[in-house]
Amino acid sequence: MKPAQFDYFAPASVEEALDKLAELGYDGKVLAGGQSLIAAMNFRMARPGALVDLNNIPELSFIKPTADGGLAIGTMTRVHTVEHSPEVIKRFPLLPEVAHYIGHAQIRRRGSFGGAIAHADPSGQLPGIAKVMNAKCLIRSKDKEDRWVDAADLIIGPFMTVIEYEDLLTEVVLPPNPPRTGSSYQQVARQHGGYALAACASVLTLDEKNQCQDARLILMGVGEMPILSDKIKEILIGQEPTEAAFKTVGEAVQSEIDPSTDLNGTAEYRRDLIRVLVPRSLALSLERAKKGS
């Protein structure tokens, strides 16, 4: 289990990285945290011709408040840093809550926030979380204009995104949540740190009448990519959030998911997990929304 040969480039700036990626084209591959990529390379399942390592580009690691009260997170910010950032904890408690379940401590220290999103693992947590948080992703490349892509449009299949070979996801911006917003994450995995068999995260915003002003729900591990539910909006927005309504959502999203069967779980089981996890997550989000967090 030793990786095949490749060429290695360690640019010191984003500009240099973009130049290199443009030059390499199809042969090039971005190396961010590398916690999935290098494992795949060791199995020789991945064999890029060249790696462009982002780890020497300090300008890609940051957590900065945005003018509107959101946060911009640089692509190379480590998951562990995001998990423990006071800014993140204050504004987006959902992120540290989820980060806790991503791999093990050592993986989170090295794994990068943007890298995990761009990796688009259907069982990965961060691509879905970015979606449910209405994140916007900045994609840059040498010969194209900078593009802002909604996280919802970023992923187009398992491990597939709209990010092209010459492109680089440089930062992810999370828009602020209105007051009286609550969020939560629920998953079932075989082990702590393992891939989720099924997971969901919800974000609820209440209006002054305690009705749902906004409701977002992402379903993970139950399709080729994280699925942002439309059904929840139909059922909850403008309505009073009740336990019964949450159950209805759990049932309704069944038509939106398309889980697969693997050794760890059948499609049927995963479906049922979603049925169970969605109301649990919504109830928790509601409780938090009421507290105004």
Binding site: A39, N42, A105, Q106, R109
Partner: protein, 160 residues
Amino acid sequence: MAQLIKIKVTVNDTVYEREVEPRLLLSDFIRHELGLFGTHVGCEHGMCGACTILFDGEPVRSCLIFAVQANGHEIKTVESLGTPEHLHPLQEAFNEKHGLQCGFCTPGILMTVVPFLEENPHPSEDEIREAIDGNICRCTGYEKIIESVQAASEKMSSGK
């Protein structure tokens, strides 16, 4: 011919300069280029934790980093803790509580626990369990590892 890259790495306070192929894993570099055999390799896909080292103070899997990426960085391996004659308090605790059997996973566990106890000097049992759950131990069933870490936290906070 493979590309060779010059790197300068500080390992356990010693500076090493070597020329390496980009694909050389940091774990192999530490073991076979530097002869520091305390870092063990159990899976080479980032699941077992045996190869955990400190990379600029952070516990990471050295099988999921290329040696070239360590250029200019500071690494600590298990050899940076105590010696057989003068064990580190954490190592002492593992001896006293029987926190190891075959000892293959142990260096990775120690290197995971060192920064953990620095950040959290008085951890609960549950916190310890979670802190080491990225390190697989096939021998002990973890009970005595957890006791060892608890004992170490007491030792280290009492300054012994």
